[in-house]
Symmetry: C2
Subunit: 433 residues, 2 copies
């Protein structure tokens, strides 16, 4: 045991040196580098596996498979969870949980961490009993069981869903010092389902039909109107999420997916689609989910989640680990299509540099970006701005307020500012410029 | 309650009619269609939401979010699980669980259902204690903590992993009447990690170095040699899987990913990479994971999982639901690159039709295909064959046996045959042609 402990300590020392060397590499202090590298080499040359700490898990077999029919995260990752706001008491009726964007990588949100918002809890629906009805201005009303829908040709696509209220409170000034709460009503998955147009063609749309109503089977009977053009474009009736059956809080067994459109329009636990000639003016498109403008008029049916981005590392939960080279990383997305570019500013928007887009750049999907930064310990104001393929540029909070005024809540896609303190701490500040 | 029940029955009847109509549509029996559609229309015109069954979950709110920090599947999907073979008693030391491919959609395997194979159980590793050492023929041996690796520039890519033993028993004749067991040692995820070449450049490779050894921190100390060309190409040191931290059975906190190469080479719980001038000839590349040829010689280091495909619907677990139009669907993949095409035969390989590739077609990733089939209730022999971008064509079992003989176990990428019975049942048969 004593040997193990000693070696472990020497490993720790060694890894600190490695760590330091990378930092010095970045700052170009080659004298310091050579000295450090020399010191480390002498120590490291003596390394062998037997000298390295042999941890307890290498001494005895771990648990077998018998109890893991459905796998779970490591017990060491208990902090990678959805969270709800402490000051919004989560009731059974209406609540929201936020995705821990600060802990995630790539563009897929695992199903267990996909944000959820509901207005009457999460119903536990028996898929055998569930029906989807299509009626109204159609030639032939139709009723579908889930297994019938699964026999239609399906498509699988990776799309984000963002709540229209994501960052709502932040329009009035910095509220939450946590990425999980400023931006965490945002997730992205591979969805599989039936294009809605297949079903509508089967039903036959009557002349004069312009809108659809989607209604959920939850106790809120949440319902939203949406134009028929979207239904005939890329709308999906979804039954699978990241390969497996849809999760209960995502609408099991069926949800509507309107790619790129505000979350609430992607009606969960979908039981009814009615075809009509005008919107229904439901509660969730009149009393809520509208944008109250300075004129006193409210914008309605602002479906598209416009281009937006946020730096996920660093962020309040992921402070700077120290001076030197650092890979700034973030997410960008647009409900209007693909992300074309992301710029990053380190001085609150005075100067901008182009970030690299990483990995897949897909239509209406989260897109990763990164840019190297050599931080010398000074105060800095980090921002990112997304540009999508339509040419739309993510606005500053000042630009957004100039149009929307101060009464608007939803659809905040303003540029986020993170203030980097010399200590490395990261603070949410909303620059009104 | 009586009203609900009545309406529900009428809904059931209605949906049966809808179902039948689609079937007749496919068979072109327009007389039958008109009659059915007319009958359904009359009945359906009276439909309103109040007449449809109002299920219990629409009457009262469901559970709230407070207890769902990490979400779980619907209780109605308890059969969508990994399974182990009943005749291979799962011991703590060595076992395997299979992905339920018959239940999945798209190309992402959710982390809870990703197949697992281990040789000494699944260690529960404390990431704070874990170290990755790079040593051997390098200028500067290095030791990394997990958080240090996470500061390197990362990449995220969607890749499959397939066990070299996937379908091994099937080379000698049909063994399992279940897709989950013939092909379920196959899964696909979005992986995030550090390109190994970044770390090797940091360490400095000495002249003459040709191979690396990767060793796991499990009690088996599972170790595999692999050529340095792969290390400098697309090899990754992975810490995240579908966005979240790697799962324990996938190597938490670190695994090697050699995209497209046999599963066992993607060493999990990675603790050591040694650089050398020749392979180490470890147990898992000599006693096992080699292909014994008719000559008595064994092929070693057959890393690439060559192009392969399988029809996932229908399959033994998903029999034909009835006569008429049916969307045949499946998965194709190649360790050599992208899938270029998939052909499907309905007569045991005499005639072939081109299937459609669906959704994303990515390098070394699962790729979905589909093809419509109008089944009239006769016996049929369904097969699929994948062609990858190198021009490689998936072989028949006969072609594979002609080269490998009957002693070979691993690397079975032969064309799978499903025998469709007139009853609609699907049987695994291995055609030796």
């Amino acid at each position: 045991m004593r040997d193990d402990k000693d070696t472990k300590n020497s490993g720790d020392k060694l890894s600190r040196l490695v760590f330091d060397r990378r930092r010095f590499l970045g700052s170009g202090l080659l004298g310091g580098l050579a000295a450090l590298a020399g010191g480390r080499r002498a120590e490291a040359d003596g390394l062998s596996t037997s000298q390295l700490v042999v941890p307890p898990w290498s001494h005895r077999p771990g648990p077998g498979v018998a109890t893991r029919a459905y796998g779970q995260p490591s017990p060491y990752e208990k902090s990678v969870i959805r969270r709800f706001l402490p000051w919004i008491r989560p009731t059974r009726e209406a609540s929201v949980s936020f995705t821990p964007l600060q802990d995630l990588h790539g563009i897929i949100t695992p199903n267990g961490l996909f944000f959820e918002r509901h207005h009457a809890g999460t119903p536990e629906i028996d898929p055998q009993q569930h029906r989807l009805v299509i009626h109204g201005m159609v030639e032939q009303p139709l009723v579908f069981r889930v297994d019938e829908l699964m026999r239609f040709p399906s498509v699988s696509r990776i799309h984000f869903i963002e709540c229209a209220g994501n960052g709502a409170m932040e329009q009035h000034g910095a509220m939450h010092n946590a990425l999980q709460f400023t931006h965490g009503m945002l997730s992205c998955a591979e969805w599989t389902g039936v294009p809605l147009r297949y079903l509508l063609r089967e039903a036959g749309i009557r002349k004069g039909a312009r809108w659809l109503l989607a209604e959920g089977a939850d106790a809120a009977g949440l319902a939203r109107s949406f134009p028929i053009e979207k239904a005939m474009d890329d709308a999906l009736i979804v039954y699978a999420q990241n390969g497996e059956p849809l999760r209960p809080e995502q609408g099991y067994p069926l949800r509507l997916l309107l790619p790129g459109w505000e979350g609430v329009a992607n009606v969960k636990w979908l039981r009814r689609l009615e075809v009509g000639d005008r919107p229904w003016e439901t509660r969730e498109e009149t009393a809520t989910y509208t944008d109250l403008l300075p004129s006193g008029k409210a914008r309605q049916f602002t479906f598209v989640q416009e281009a937006k981005s946020v730096i996920t590392s660093p962020c309040p939960e992921r402070p700077m680990p120290g001076r030197g080279r650092f890979m700034v990383e973030g997410l960008a997305w647009s409900g209007a299509g693909r992300i074309k570019a992301v710029d990053v500013s380190f001085d609150g928007g005075r100067n901008w540099r182009s970030a690299r887009l990483k990995g897949l750049v897909l239509d209406k999907a989260l897109t990763r970006f990164e840019i190297e930064w050599n931080w010398q310990g000074g105060q800095a104001l980090l921002q990112s701005r997304a540009i999508d393929e339509t040419g739309y540029v993510q606005p500053t909070l000042g630009q957004l307020r100039a149009v929307r005024g101060m009464n608007s809540m939803y659809h905040n896609n303003a540029i986020q500012t993170w203030l980097i303190h010399p200590s490395g701490e990261v603070e949410n500040v909303q620059l009104d410029v």
